[in-house]
């Protein structure tokens, strides 16, 4: 268990629980009452802390090292039928952007998302979930494949941003993302986009144009990370908490601003505390949404998708 700085009270109880369990197992004293008490206390403390998270704390939860990543969702939701499909058919296979077919309760879906990497070695292999242009182009190729065979598309968003590298620029990172925004608006199949961790800027939006855009409870979605915002607007790295608040980047904020369509609840204490529950929550929501979307004609769905994004942005006509 890794605990975040604001989870100190949970950590202390957890350590007590650990000791109690050890004593109990040695068989000298019956600790079962203490253990049950502590477990209750942990759950209550979690509930209390997690119902009052600040925006910055939510950013921390969204990056929790034990939080389930995209591939874990794909495998769990499809009962391991997920068949990854590789490559953009032009340059290479981007390991930060994964996609493929999977069967959810007997129905075929195209699942696409950024994969962050589960340990130090894999994080490098996955480029920390920062896709290159070929990642966005692979994503689009797979979306078109899904469209051809009339399969609904689910994108799972979890990225600190598109990769800002030299080769990414050479191969047109801007063009790749822009193309996806335009093309996704025209897909004839239902598209559901879910932020499961970090939704950073154009790198997230590049697979984010959907009929339904949803966020998990403790995730963030904005134009810039709080750290970078702090460094640019405050000219210092020390204002990330203020920046997180100012950016109104939480799921709740985003729903209030009508920039997303809904929020998916997380287990008490965050998705990492009960991964299986998280997978089930997301799966249920996907099935619910797709059932609704499939009742609408393709033309109407596209029209509504365009209308939704076209009406975003607040201005005054003086």
């Amino acid at each position: 268990m890794t605990f975040l700085d604001f989870e100190k009270p949970i950590q202390e109880l957890w350590e007590q629980l650990d000791k109690a369990k050890q004593t109990h197992e040695k068989g000298k004293v019956d600790m079962s009452t203490t253990i049950a008490d502590l477990e209750n206390k942990i759950q209550e403390t979690r509930k209390e802390i997690y119902s009052n998270l600040t925006p910055w704390q939510k950013v921390q939860v969204s990056r929790h090292p034990e939080r389930p990543y995209v591939l874990a969702y794909m495998n769990a939701m499809t009962y391991n039928t997920f068949q990854e499909l590789h490559g953009d058919r032009s340059v290479k296979d981007d390991k930060a952007m994964i996609g493929g077919f999977g069967s959810i309760d007997g129905k075929t879906f195209m699942l696409i998302g950024q994969q962050k990497g589960i340990n130090t070695k894999m994080r490098q292999y996955r480029n920390f979930g920062m896709a290159n242009p070929e990642g966005y182009r692979k994503a689009l190729r797979l979306m078109k494949l899904a469209e051809k065979f009339n399969k609904p598309i689910v994108t799972l968003i979890d990225t600190p941003g598109a990769h800002p590298g030299l080769e990414a620029e050479e191969r047109g990172q801007g063009e790749a993302i822009a193309r996806n925004l335009l093309e996704m608006s025209q897909l004839t199949v239902p598209v559901i986009c879910i932020v499961i961790g970090e939704g950073a800027s154009g790198g997230a939006l590049g697979i984010g144009i959907g009929d339904k855009v949803l966020m998990l409870e403790h995730t963030w979605y904005s134009v810039i990370s709080p750290e970078s915002c702090s460094s640019i607007l405050w000219r210092s790295w020390d204002f990330k908490e203020q920046a997180a608040t100012a950016l109104k980047l939480t799921a709740e904020n985003m729903l209030e601003q009508k920039l997303i369509d809904g929020i998916i609840k997380e287990p008490i204490g965050g998705a990492h505390v009960n991964q299986e529950e998280s997978f089930q929550n997301v799966k249920k929501e996907i099935l619910k949404q797709v059932a609704k979307l499939e009742k609408i004609e393709a033309d109407k769905r596209i029209e509504a998708r365009i209308e939704k994004f076209s009406s975003m942005g607040v201005f005054v006509e003086g």
Partner: protein, 285 residues
């Protein structure tokens, strides 16, 4: 010389018929080229369309200048001029966003970072949306997105071609996710324009980075640029930090993008109007 004078008159015409007050340079002021340090009279500089005659550096200019250069006799009609940001997040960093907006308006005489206008380019009725870098770094907020969106609606309705002149540091951070979603908004609207088979020419000028590059600037039927412009997704400083070494000399210039296949052609400002007019005629004839 006579040709230049007529150019100059045209530009002056454009400036003076603009709805906003534009300060005329008094006689005898000098302009120093930031690239080669060559010094010229400001009026001569304007006659040459703000391009250095020594090193061909294309100086950054704004919507008033581009409208003056492009539209016949400098005549055009600005549309949706009164849209202003609503500060949806009540955003404040070291300064309130509303204060930044007010200061920028005072400094530039502009209401936001883009102006949209219709007029004729060698007789072809065209919608031109032009960004102004002087207004909060040409950043894209809701006003930029809405003006482009409305320009596209107008182009579809009237079957008028669209030119967008990009010049932007990217997203307007003070509008946070609203700003991010303008990338989506402009791109989905361009999909509609594309479906209606109305030509869209994206003219990319110095500098264009971030969310504008990753949306409408790269989505033209033709993507063209002025020479030597900085064009990229990530800014050069960020890329340098990522790779931990110096960048190639021409990295992220118009010429670099042309070489890598992301531009159709590069056009010098002195040929801009005629090349655009010819291109519009290719689509129409």
């Amino acid at each position: 010389m006579s040709e230049k004078v007529s150019w100059f008159k045209r530009i002056r015409g454009g400036i003076t018929t603009s709805t906003r007050e534009k300060k005329e340079a008094p006689e005898g002021l000098w302009y120093k080229c930031p690239s080669c340090k060559h010094i010229v009279d400001t009026n001569d500089n304007a006659i040459h369309l703000w391009v250095c005659q020594k090193c061909n550096h294309h100086q950054r200019i704004g919507s008033a200048e581009y409208f003056g250069i492009l539209f016949d006799e400098g005549k055009f009609k600005e549309v949706n001029a009164n849209l202003v940001s609503a500060d949806p997040l009540n955003f404040s960093d070291t300064q309130k966003y509303t204060e930044r907006l007010a200061a920028s308006e005072k400094k530039t005489g502009l209401k936001d970072a883009i102006s949209t206008a219709t007029g004729k380019i060698e007789g072809v009725e065209t919608m031109v949306a032009c960004m102004d870098f002087t207004f909060i770094g040409g950043s894209m907020g809701a006003v930029v997105g809405e003006k482009i969106s409305r320009a596209i609606d107008c182009c579809i309705k009237k079957k008028t071609p669209l030119i967008i002149i990009s010049k932007s540091g990217g997203a307007r951070m003070m509008e946070a996710a609203h700003s991010l979603m303008q990338m989506a908004k402009t791109s989905v609207k361009l999909a509609q324009l594309s479906k209606a088979k109305i030509p869209y020419i994206s003219l990319i000028t110095d500098p264009t980075t971030g969310g504008v590059t990753a949306s409408f600037a790269m989505l033209g039927d033709l993507n063209i640029a002025e020479p030597g412009a900085l064009i990229g997704f990530a800014g050069p400083r960020v890329v340098r930090e990522t790779i931990g070494k110096d960048l190639p000399k021409d990295f992220q210039t118009s010429e670099f993008l042309l070489e890598h296949g992301f531009l159709d052609f590069i056009v010098e400002r002195k040929n801009l109007k005629s090349r655009l007019a010819q291109t519009l005629k290719f689509f129409a004839a």
